[in-house]
Subunit: 552 residues, 2 copies
């Protein structure tokens, strides 16, 4: 897996474009008052980037070279810059501007758990900072060393630990190295007829270890479970030795060490292996599109699905603004045909009494045996109808499925046009979803108003549970001509996040805390919760060598 | 809810008897060489019990009386003795003998969260030990103060905090006080059409707070989830203030504080409230009995059910020794008729080729709509047949359902006859179940042999997951005439527990660590895991006031 662009998402040369999406340019013109016809803001050329000198000492270099065989100790400038940060909007803007802070002094790529242990020992002995690096796709600031860090900084890239080591077919458990990227993991599993079923938006550029360290969730987690459910066993290199969590299905052995490692963002150690649940590749898999008259109708349907005798693999519901955005990014003629056809418009607008401005697009996925899928489709279809919804077939679902990993590219596309855009997501009980949604819309609108900018906010429900759901907001705005993009971005982002925690929702459903959400941690988990996390990190890492400054 | 006997399970006057179970006396005669016709060993009379004087100081008494209104500060001897321990076999034997160690100096019964906070403050200010007490049903030694504890010991009985405070019908979440007992919780919920669905064997004598503090599991957890799944929000009185966990369905806000409180056995604070998932009482609920030719056939069937497109509410499978015990405890003529009928014997023994000595009894539960239950029954029935199993109808299931909470009484019945009997349970991946089972049988057999005693060991699978299951062992033996029951018991118990951890299983699936399983903690969670728990407890409770000595 090649590294991502040092300044943006995905490999060099792969970019989002509006050119094959005829409705997108007018949509953005309408929504943000921005003409995306041509890009006007480029990242600083790499040759002009002022990369701080590596502070790696000769002793530490020798120790690391002894720890990791085969020349996998790098002080290459590009390598260091690629490993300096993740892909938060702050990260992207600052990298594009050439505003580097504390770039790692060295990037090491251990090829075995023993080598990770040796790196850990070398780092601690040299009083260095050790930051594990998976796909580098964090959008919460989990990867950057503190600006004032005086100690040497080691980025430990786990990319060489990328193998499925074995599958226990009886237990449906796979032993997997933590540095494997999503596609490579699925490829190895599918060769034996299995799937992991974990497909976050970052899938192509994120790793198993990263998913675990950030409590990730994927588009099919309604069926497969979040990463916290899927991860059973763990091996973690810690300052006090190898932490081994047994892959038992459940246990009553005190506060769960497994759950303590999940979401720990490198503060407790470096995850080298996990034993995870895998499932047989289903006989049939399909995602259907649905339309609901309003967001409230759709939410009520999703809520009923989550409690019913169903097992939908995907429950996704866009609000009206996101539905309009989805229509604007359409590419496949089949979808255009369907949605734009006079017949459907008439049917939707007149027969069902839909207000097309309020209409919400939804995707519901099914998988399993042919028979199971047929039965679920039918039962869910009836439920959808009871909520005023309408099935629009598999075309939109297929399209969604095809383009689901393209979303992160849009931020770069917008930044090339001087426009900041980003996401914020949360989870809340079903009864709190409407209040949270309203509060976020109002908070974002106020923020746009205070800044005096034209902005757009849209939302989808991305995961359903018996007791609640995840609401996933996306926003963008046209910044003021003379303002600082990051300052203006923060006004909007902070307003949204504050609305989450003020309304009983959590700071993030699946994007972790890092540094960018840390200011809401105490409001989310209360002060005694913070005391417990501090005690945990201090006790496990008294020298504060492990990814300092993250979470708390 | 009245307190349990100070020396045994359940309320005074309620006891297990063999007299209505004609096959039990000969069975125990055969299995243990013991005639249970009459009891020969009685607990010491309470009047002869030497209860240590309370060490409560006048200052602390005043502070507690100010903290808890209405005379709920007790130094009554019986009250203190009832709160001294749980119901482990060690607890029962020592209580019966009158061997009290460090009995609490005072029992307080706060009537509100504010009062719990005031008790906590008073306790810490007076450098006292604070031990929360729910139903007192712990069988892992989670409730006893350390023998050498010099500080005053306060037992905080949560029994007055027993209300369902509200149900959020939209989110299907109930806000419940932690001291509520199982039956009272279900009663309050069912008045509004809901059920919590958590039915551990201790159900009648255990509390919500106790379930959370020990990571409990119930007989229907296959469908409803373990307590760790059902518990969403938490309120916990801690030395650093009120810990509040929001009832969000999932979150990515760092290592899970929710999961840290689960299983914490009073080491981090006193749980006062939880927000838990509830479900509508199902239209239909049934438990069917099945017979399998061998334990291996039954395990294979349970494994397939756990991965299939089913949602059984109960999956229980007894091994052959437990099947024989079940037959020996039969009471209802309908079951006797079925199982003893010449026709069934012939059918089972000849037509299916069962070896009745290897035959295993299983219960599989279904619930939901009539239609759903009918469909699941049929599908599971086919699967069972493929594994050589035979449905024996709803009679045995009904019986099992009726007597499921009677099991804990048997230990007292046996101790009245000088016979120690107890349980040990664990969880492991499916591929490890047979090795764990074999190792435990062999370890127990060796232990009985070393002691030179006749013993009996039986087992059932009690909970199934996609990746593994819980194996629940019950054992009893006829001790040597001159040996110490507890020493001999330890030989057997230690052998079984050691076989768990030596074979990749966990120290307990749902009975917690306490003091009695603490010796296996490091083998189970590895040394860095112990370091993390110690740091957590030390950080949250630097004065070590909270239930010291438990877990680590």
């Amino acid at each position: 897996m090649a590294a991502m662009k040092w300044w943006g998402w995905g490999p060099e040369g792969l970019e989002f474009t509006h050119e094959d999406k005829p409705a997108l340019r007018p949509f953005i013109q309408w929504a943000l008052g921005v003409d995306v016809a041509s890009a006007s803001v480029s990242p600083i050329p790499f040759k002009d980037l002022r990369v701080p000198e590596s502070r790696l000492t000769d002793d530490l270099r020798s120790a690391l070279e002894a720890a990791v065989e085969g020349g996998f100790v790098s002080t290459d400038r590009l390598d260091r810059v690629v490993h300096a940060r993740g892909k938060s909007l702050h990260d992207l803007v600052r990298q594009r501007r050439g505003e580097l802070n504390r770039v790692p002094d060295v990037v090491v790529r251990p090829g075995s758990e023993d080598e990770v242990e040796a790196v850990m020992r070398s780092g601690i002995d040299a009083d260095a900072v050790v930051i594990p690096f998976g796909g580098g796709s964090s959008i919460s600031g989990s990867l950057e060393a503190p600006a004032g860090e005086q100690r040497p900084v080691i980025s430990v890239d786990l990319g060489r630990l990328n193998r499925v080591l074995g599958i226990d077919a009886t237990s449906r458990l796979a032993r997997v190295q933590a540095g494997v990227f999503g596609p490579h993991l699925e490829e190895q599993l599918s060769a034996q007829g299995y799937t992991f079923g974990h497909f976050p938006d970052s899938f192509t550029h994120s790793t198993l270890g990263g998913w675990i360290a950030t409590r990730s969730s994927g588009m099919q987690s309604d069926r497969y479970g979040d990463i916290a459910d899927l991860t059973k066993g763990l091996r973690v290199v810690t300052p006090s030795g190898m932490l081994v969590v047994r892959p038992v299905p459940a246990t009553s052995n005190g506060p769960s060490i497994r759950q303590i490692v999940l979401g720990s963002e490198g503060r407790l150690g470096i995850i080298t292996e996990a034993i995870v649940e895998v499932r047989r590749i289903p006989e049939r898999r399909t995602i259907l599109g649905y339309l609901f008259p309003t967001f409230a109708d759709g939410l009520a349907a999703m809520r009923d699905i989550a409690a019913g005798e169903f097992s939908a693999s995907v429950t996704r519901l866009s609000d009206a603004p996101e539905t309009q955005f989805s229509f604007a990014t359409r590419r496949l003629p089949s979808l255009v045909d369907k949605l734009e056809s006079a017949a459907l418009r008439t049917y939707v607008g007149r027969r069902l009494g839909y207000d097309t401005g309020q209409m919400c697009l939804s995707f519901i996925g099914y998988e399993g045996s042919e028979r199971h899928v047929a039965r679920e489709r039918k039962a869910v279809g009836k439920l959808v109808k009871r909520h005023g919804g309408l099935c629009i077939g598999s075309g939109p679902g297929t399209l969604y499925d095809q383009k689901k990993f393209d979303i992160p590219y849009i931020r770069d596309f917008l930044l090339d046009r001087g426009v900041p855009g980003d996401v914020s997501e949360t989870a809340a009980p079903w009864s709190r979803l409407a209040p949270v949604y309203d509060a976020v819309r109002s908070a974002a609108s106020d923020a746009f108003g205070r800044l005096g900018v034209q902005g757009y906010l849209m939302c989808h429900l991305s995961h359903s549970y018996h007791a609640g759901a995840c609401l996933y907001f996306t926003f963008a705005f046209r910044p003021t001509p003379d303002g600082d993009i990051l300052e203006e971005y923060d006004v909007v982002k902070v307003a949204i996040q504050q609305a989450f925690v003020d309304n009983g929702a959590t700071l993030s459903h699946h994007h972790a805390v890092g540094t960018e959400h840390a200011q809401w941690l105490e409001e989310d988990i209360s002060q005694p919760g913070v005391v417990m996390l501090e005690a945990l990190f201090e006790g496990a890492d008294p020298g504060r060598h492990l990814n300092p400054g993250k979470i708390v």
